[in-house]
């Protein structure tokens, strides 16, 4: 139980007035950006990174963690009150949540989302505390070839799960890896892809890449595609729940936590898949099946718990292996590097104050989230009245200031604009941005591990194969070959399927088909327009908001 005493020390760090303030600030900011569609925690972290250079790392990370959790929660408010998910992880919440709000149960939907997030976040963080030291023990036994294999798995898995098309995903990953190559090769000292520009020799700063692709790209996209039109927020009071709501919510919360945490911990594209799975599970297990599609509280409680649990789960590989499973975690990894902290198995040993302070602050952040959100949800909805041009002007301003602050160099501003245009083009042609960002951040680290392994084996490719890495490569092969397997082996045994709506991710569509097929028939007849209209509206913009 060394972990528990360490955690108590962590509370000592997190409960100082200064750190409490940063936790509060982070949660506040995180919820706000979670509420606003199109602005995710990853973008916000990237924007804030340069502004936090002056802070000590512990305070900065406490704030970042607040943003991460707050962002996961904030998305549900918009999903429920507006039917526009603020966050890709809240897409599923909109299906039942908005129906509940329309039938006058907005307060209950908001309450079950807030309390479910709290329960899942707390259990999830507890699991991180328990698991992290164990995983570190395992990770210490891994060598360079194993780490390389795990990183390749992360690339492949994230790319295959996110977005509408694998080919586009891999194209995006390649863009990211190429950007990550720019600069002086760490082993031989050669310049790569710098084209004689001396300022590029240090490489392109990760902050500039993340801000350019996320913030500038999104701002340009919004500027080009500002859809005129406004929606109605469903008015509501203070979030609250009745006895029956509690009785119907607690099981979905726990099941959601159980689903979300492992999915967050493996590189499977964050919260989208598990939230969807949770929704389908709740629909199956519910005693009120007829209410699904008309506002069933289980359909809000489950997915909302899931997305917070997966946010917690994502911290396990990040803190123990230095492996990000989501875009937000990738930017957090970049933040570690900014502060000169090496994330990986030694992090827990080298920076105990930071890690345990961070984990303790997550518990505190969860409490703040709950206290803040039960009474304030209607106020958050008011943020949506801000005209988007104002919002994105502010984002562009922060993006430029941040990019300039990194090295105080105008070349970085140019690079920012180029990458911003690239981000715009990627959105235009449907390339998901997340694989690119993960490629930029993780690419150089994967390269170091690969080169190290090859140096040890004196250039023999066999040096990359160890028993552990062989298993990982087999997994990668399975992920890559899955569409073929699915097509030629599995599909043959199934009846022909109805056409797949564009814009959904592969995995989701497959799951949807698989799980909705048996009871789907009668629903399609009576509630076809109703049942299909809302989720489609909700997910229409989702794929490019994987932040």
């Amino acid at each position: 139980m060394a972990a528990l005493s360490e955690l108590i020390n962590g509370f000592g760090t997190a409960l100082t007035p200064q750190n409490l303030l940063y936790a509060f600030l982070g949660v506040l900011l995180g919820t706000a950006i979670g509420v606003l569609p199109g602005i995710g925690p990853a973008m916000t972290l990237a924007l804030l990174l340069p502004l936090t250079y002056g802070l000590n790392p512990t305070s900065a990370f406490i704030m970042f963690a607040g943003i991460y959790y707050g962002g996961m929660y904030g998305g549900s408010t918009t999903s429920i009150l507006l039917n526009t998910p603020g966050e890709s992880a809240s897409v599923v919440t909109a299906i039942e949540g908005n129906k509940m709000a329309k039938s006058g149960r907005a307060a209950q939907a908001l309450a079950t989302a807030a309390i479910g997030s709290f329960v899942a976040g707390t259990i999830g963080t507890l699991l991180v505390v328990v698991l992290a030291p164990t995983v570190v023990d395992l990770a210490l036994k891994l060598g360079a070839p194993d780490f390389f294999a795990i990183m390749v798995l992360a690339f492949v898995a994230v790319t295959s799960v996110l977005g509408a098309s694998r080919i586009r995903g891999f194209a995006s990953l390649l863009i990211g890896l190429a950007i990550g190559l720019v600069g002086i090769d760490q082993v031989t000292g050669q310049q790569r892809l710098t084209y004689g520009v001396p300022q590029l020799a240090d490489g392109i700063d990760v902050v500039v890449v993340a801000v350019g692709l996320f913030a500038v790209g999104e701002a340009l996209w919004i500027a080009a595609h500002l859809r005129r039109g406004t929606a109605q927020v469903i008015p509501t009071g203070r979030a609250r729940m009745g006895r029956e709501d509690w009785a119907r919510s607690w099981k979905p919360w726990l099941r959601g936590t159980a689903l979300g945490f492992p999915f967050g911990a493996v590189p499977a594209g964050g919260a989208e898949v598990p939230t969807f799975l949770s929704y389908v599970t709740e629909k199956r297990l519910s005693k009120h099946k007829d209410e699904f599609g008309h506002g069933a509280i289980e359909g809000v409680a489950g997915p909302e718990a899931t997305n917070n649990a997966s946010a917690a789960g994502g911290l396990v590989p990040l803190l123990t292996l230095g492996l990000p499973t989501t875009a937000t975690a990738a930017v957090l990894l970049a933040a570690f590097q900014q502060y000169g902290i090496q994330p990986g198995p030694l992090l827990l040993e080298n920076e105990p104050e930071l890690v345990w302070g961070l984990l303790a602050s997550l518990f505190i952040g969860n409490v703040i989230l709950l206290v803040l959100n039960l009474p304030l949800a209607p106020m958050w909805a008011k943020l949506l009245r801000i005209p988007r041009p104002y919002l994105y002007a502010g984002i562009l301003f922060f993006a430029s200031v941040g990019a300039y602050a990194v090295n105080a160099s105008t070349v970085d501003l140019m690079v920012l604009l180029v990458l911003g245009s690239l981000g715009f083009l990627m959105r235009r042609y449907g390339l998901p941005v997340v694989p690119a960002v993960i490629g930029v951040i993780l690419g150089p680290r994967a390269e170091v591990q690969m080169r190290r392994a090859l140096q040890i084996s004196d250039g023999e490719l066999s040096g990359l194969i160890t028993p552990f890495s062989a298993v990982i490569y087999a997994l990668i092969a399975l992920v890559l070959l899955w569409p073929l397997v699915n097509r030629f082996v599995i599909r043959r045994f199934r009846r022909p399927r109805h056409p797949v709506p564009v814009g959904h991710s592969h995995a989701l569509v497959e799951l949807a088909d698989e799980l909705a097929a048996p009871p789907g028939e009668e629903r399609r007849e009576e509630g076809d327009e109703k049942a299909d209209e809302e989720p489609e509206h909700a997910t229409a913009d989702a794929p490019r908001r994987q932040t």
């Binding site: 918009t78 500002l226 005129r228 039109g229 406004t230 109605q232 949506l384 009245r385």
Partner: protein, 141 residues
């Protein structure tokens, strides 16, 4: 010659509509009900949902005035839209609702009513939300 009324789904907007109906009956003119939003925020409390406009149409038919209801979302300020519509139809009168605003609030957010008052090509009737005569009641008489 018509009467243009700037309508928003608030007590002030409903008071303006009620006053406009009275004016229309008195002057024997038709009404142009205008609901406008810039449409660049996710949510605009001034934007009237479809049901709201439907109930406005119902009220106006019941009051037996000639009317037209328009909803404009094309990125222009509501004030601009109202003034432009008034100029277009050669309106005799614009009716708007007024609410209490603080000096600082007006400084930061601007005031739609003020811009209409200053820019209008015709007379403007400004109405306050009236506690004694709820808007819905008056139009039915």
């Amino acid at each position: 010659m018509t009467i243009v009324v700037g309508y928003i789904p608030t007590p002030e907007g409903r008071a303006a509509l009620a006053a406009a109906v009275e004016e229309a009956l008195r002057r024997d003119e038709s009404l142009l009900v205008l609901n406008a939003s810039r449409g660049d925020a996710y949510v605009d409390p001034g934007f009237a949902p479809a049901e709201e406009l439907e109930s406005v149409r119902g009220q106006l038919s019941a009051a037996r005035v000639g009317f037209d209801v328009r909803q404009l979302v094309r990125g222009k300020e509501p004030a601009e839209e109202v003034v432009q519509a008034a100029a277009e139809v050669g309106a005799e009168l614009i009716v708007i609702g007024l609410r209490r605003r603080s000096a600082v609030g007006k400084l930061i957010m601007g005031s739609t009513a003020q811009r209409i008052l200053l820019d209008a090509p015709c007379a403007v009737l400004a109405v306050k939300a009236d506690a004694h005569h709820p808007a819905g009641e008056r139009t039915r008489t």
